[in-house]
């Protein structure tokens, strides 16, 4: 039923990727030794300089065409790079949106001019984009967005508010999903995507503090913001199709089950002297769960490397649902098997990362489609096929 097109018994990363893996490992090792980053969970810090160094090595926009600054590598190669970055707890926030969502969105729906304007800079790690979908009254129910754009000569006049917009305060532009004609019976009609330059007049970005006080996301207000016609992404009225068509890669990547993996590595090494059967069993169960998620995530990357547009949305929902719930198992194992006290500013790495993971724990099952929403998607497919 699910993954019916995947032959798991033959699913292998080609040997030729070993050298790429070695290369990125050496790079990460050097960076760590040079003190360029400290491992963090949940995509680490927002570090443009680090992203730029990745860009120099061709590790952003890996699958994009060369003419847009990409590297025409496969989705499997990209998978290898992503999982190594995440395992190291490297700071990848500054380019993650661009690499995963914005770039593919521009490639699929953007005009030639839009692509040339943004993609090469993104691939260099120099252009950060925010994603403006959620609003105060449109969370899971995304189609109820109220931010709207009105036709004016030469473009559109945008009004409304986005919320939870990650890194808007560090981004140069933003995709905004908005209404361009009033809601009808079919709520999915009349939505469009605009590319909004965040330096435009009429934009106010206000921080929302995360529960640890950090500033990662924002409210973004639009007050008569002018968006020229050439900044419409894709077609007016096709916004819903556009935002829902890129979800498979977004939901199935290793970032959906690897957020706490660096912590698990610390646990493993801390147990070296242990002779506790329970510890071995808990650790082994986590290893098995991790391995199973990786196989499914890899299967989706593989599907993208063999077909341009594989039908794996439900499989991706499955990976995200199970992966994000799994990440918490590692926290429970640490609590059960060690006396680690989560401590934010500790010099002990395990205490520090355990604190980060604990603070971060509620997030993965909410953003990018909540657990409940994902299970709804899976259930609809079951209803339709079984």
């Amino acid at each position: 039923m699910f993954f019916s097109d995947t032959d798991f018994s033959a699913l292998r990363l080609p040997e030729s990727l070993n050298s790429l893996r070695d290369e990125i490992r050496r790079f990460l090792d050097r960076e760590r030794r040079a003190g360029s980053f400290k491992p963090h969970l949940g995509h680490g810090e927002f570090d443009v300089a680090f992203s730029r160094r990745l860009g120099e090595r061709g590790w952003i926009g890996m699958t994009w065409p060369r003419k847009y600054g990409g590297h025409e590598r496969t989705h499997l190669e990209r998978f290898v790079v992503l999982e190594e970055l995440l395992a190291a707890g490297a700071p990848v926030h500054a380019h993650w949106n661009a690499d995963r969502q914005i770039g593919p969105g521009l490639l699929r729906w953007g005009s030639e001019e839009q692509r040339m304007r943004y993609l090469p800079a993104m691939a260099r790690g120099e252009c950060c984009f925010a994603i403006g979908m959620s609003e105060p009254n449109a969370g899971s129910d995304l189609a109820s967005v109220r931010t709207h754009a009105e036709r004016v000569p030469g473009g559109w006049k945008l009004n409304g508010q986005k919320t939870w917009t990650s890194w808007a305060h560090k981004s140069s532009a933003m995709f905004v999903l908005c209404r361009t004609s009033p809601a009808t019976q079919n709520r999915h009609e009349g939505l469009s995507q605009l590319i909004v330059d965040l330096s435009s007049p009429g934009i106010t970005i206000r921080p929302i503090r995360f529960l640890d006080g950090a500033h990662r996301f924002n409210d973004v207000f639009f007050d008569d913001v002018f968006v020229p016609d050439d900044m419409v992404l894709g077609e007016i009225g096709q916004g819903w199709l556009q935002v829902t068509s890129e979800l498979a890669l977004e939901r199935s990547g290793p970032e959906r089950y690897m957020n706490t993996f660096p912590l698990f590595c610390l646990l493993l090494d801390a147990l070296k002297q242990s002779n506790d059967r329970l510890a071995r069993i808990s650790v082994g169960a986590i290893v098995a769960r991790f391995a199973s998620l990786r196989r499914m995530s890899l299967a989706i990357a593989h599907a993208f490397s063999t077909k341009a547009d594989p039908d794996v949305n439900t499989e991706a929902a499955l990976v995200k649902d199970i992966g994000t719930v799994f990440e918490r198992d590692i926290l429970e194992a640490i609590r059960t098997l060690t006396d680690t006290v989560p401590t934010r500013d500790s010099s002990d790495e395990m205490e520090r990362l355990f604190a980060e993971a604990t603070l971060f724990a509620p997030i993965p099952t909410i953003r990018g489609g909540t657990t409940q929403v994902l299970r709804g998607i899976i259930a609809r497919r079951l209803e339709a096929t079984l």
């Binding site: 039923m1 493993l268 098995a288 199970i322």
Partner: protein
Amino acid sequence: MSDAALLEDAATGIFRDHYTGDLLVAAKHAGWCAGLWKVLEETGMSLVSVPEDSGGTGGSVQEALTVIRLAGKYCAAVPLADTALLAGWALARAGLPVPKGPLAFAVAGTTSPLTVKQEGGGWKLSGTLGRVPWARFARALVIVAEHEDRCVVASVDPAQYKVSPGINLAGEARDDVVMENALVSGARVRAAPPGVSVENAWQRGALSRAVMMCGALDRILEMSVQYCRQRVQFGRPLGKFQAIQQELARLAGDAAIATACAMSAAGALDSGTQEFDIAVAKVRAGEAAQSGASIAHQVHGAIGVTEEYLLHHSTLRLWSWRSEYGSEAHWSERLGRTAIEGGSTWLWNTLTRH
């Protein structure tokens, strides 16, 4: 249609046509289904992956697993995995003849110790093998056992052992086998060839159970979705209730995970590094069995726990197969031990090696 699809179709046809609900119920009391076995034998399904020159049907392990998975799905009370994937494999690899008929298979290791002595031209086996699947129906009991610091494959005639019948939760024969100086002629014993060992046999057994559990999970998912479409409460089919949908989605996830891992392990079989993948497969199939069977029963309500309704044939098998060839705890502990001993770098290298 591809060869794989043809095989799947043919095997499905056999289970559907020759293993009706009545026969399934009868098998629960009889310990197995002789009629179904006969058809599987006549069609060559019973020895898929055993080479033709050893008397088998030929074909790949993958093909054998396709049939075994369907046997799991249709709750087939026959020694299919044991005959083709386990006993047939060991005999063929050891260069022993593969007798016609159902075969039982046992691994004599630390949990079921067996004394193996060579005397004159023959061998003498003594000891008790606990819960040997299908022993009382078998034409031969194939044992992979340690002998001094070697390993032997023995094909034991049923006349040489006593069976004390037992069953697993689902009523499938799981018999204790007692041997007191059981005589086995030299012609029926061979030193295990490379690739055949107590450990490898145990791993193969675990893979067979993981694959059978995948089939059973497919079945309970289908039954649950279909039941929730028919059963109406509060004026709506159960499947329209979100609480039920969420549970069905989890069950689908369980089935998908079990399959991903079992098939991945199948691809690693005989690679020399399959232990890791098989451990993952058995742990994840067992976890999926636990979670999936609970969900299937929950959405069925009371009817699911009746003898008349067929769900229990699948769920009881899931609970039984979980503990055959090593429970989740057994395989998790092994994985955990190697991971802790190897350390995080070793683990990451292992996880990412393919």
